[in-house]
Amino acid sequence: MDTNSINRYASAIREAIVAHEADIECLDREIGDGDHYINMKRGCEAIAGLANELNGLDASDALNKIGMKLLSTIGGASGPLFASFFMAMGKSLKTSEAISINHLAAAFDAGVQAIMQRGKAQTGEKTMLDVLVPVAQTFKHMAEQGHTRPEIAAALKKTASEGLESTRNMLATKGRAAGLGERAIGHLDAGAKSCQVMIHAVCDLVLAG
């Protein structure tokens, strides 16, 4: 994974987020405070603005830089979480070996672990983790079992969508919706939605070859 492909993934993510503006914003308005889409968009634009600076960096440094940039750009709850994700992923990819699919799966998992630590949260709390944790597990599992990239991409899309859907009937115990009690039920979590959107965008790129 070089910076070219990182930039390609980043712009696919950005397009996907923008394409889902209405859904994402609406979800955070319903059981949050309505800024999640704007936060995501600001983050995506910051990464786009980083493209030149990333040139020539290895994946580890590039992802770390992205994490640092997000940390000082997004704010809110999602800012430190996504920042932690990318910084941990970067750290995990600090290797002299060529980056394999197993490396990537492990790095993704490290990123998700960092989110769990930073947010002191787990699955079942109606957050982005309900998408990210199962995706990380599926990813590691399938990479270990030697599945092809397209197979993995297709599976992760499915897992992400299921994870998103699973937030619908949860009570929230983390984030802003935690104050809502029963009223949160029936609504998807905004952060889970944007994670699902981003994972789909990346996997679609992989599937497109």
Binding site: G76, A83, L180
Partner: protein
Amino acid sequence: MKKFLNQVDQMLTESLAGFATAHRELVQVQFEPTFVSRKQKAQNKVVLISGGGSGHEPLHAGYVGKGMLDAACPGQVFTSPTPDQMLAAAEAVHTDKGVLFIVKNYAGDVMNFEMAAEMLPFEHATVLTSDDCAVVNSTYTSGRRGVAGTVIVEKCVGSLAESGADLAACKALGDKINLRTSSIGVALTSCTVPAAGRPTFDITEAEIEMGVGIHGEPGRRREAMRAADAIVTDMVAAIVHDIEAKQLPGAGDILLLVNGLGATPLMELYLIYHAAAEQLTAKGYQVTRSLVGNYTTAIDMAGASITVCLLDQEILKHWDSPVHTAGLRWGC
């Protein structure tokens, strides 16, 4: 959406620039990273730094000045600021007595301040405010929200810090006040986040949102609109229930803060105050200090919150001491 602005993404910058010019004898503003600090850097005292999403003005920038905060870090509207802002602010205002962060208890604020704290090269501590009793605290959730009671914490801890107290004492007073403070809000209308361009929630003429948060987060319940006295009765009951649950000794003298959420006229706030003061008095509380006005807002929401702080001699002394900020000023 109809607001006085030029471009949504310039709104905060222009507004902060105006704020800094209007109060230039008091504060200065830095951009990228953005923070507001006192014109005269304080010496030899614990410095207080707060911050949070914008849209709650005068909180927090309006409370920078003598007797209150040393710096404030404004985030985007309803979005907590980023750690680089806190770091830059701390760098600019710190003394060797340490840094106290005052943070409203929201996941975003907590995590961003936490990451700043982890990177901070100075002695530091954090007071988390969580006065909103609309959100029932439980082991299942991330806890109560910090709302208008934060102003009381910032005022009183600011006063203590000014007296030369050390970091531990400042944190202890902040924690004590937070424990002794309960708030609840009610919305008649939604706020409109400028970048979203439309109201955060829909609400009819016949409804109110009881327990609403200062970001337009839904509250406890959607309820029927009714007479102000009846609304206040339920708000006071929630606060008294919360106070009783804390089992604090010597509850008696209180500070009663009736806070407007942005679009509610003073005439209505004083009417709410009238009802709340009468009801609290009937329940045996002495309303010893009062504050009525827009102190912790939710952009342009029509609505109000009621905050009760159980006073003791220490809190009272620090509440009464001189303060000179854009948003709160007395005694000097």
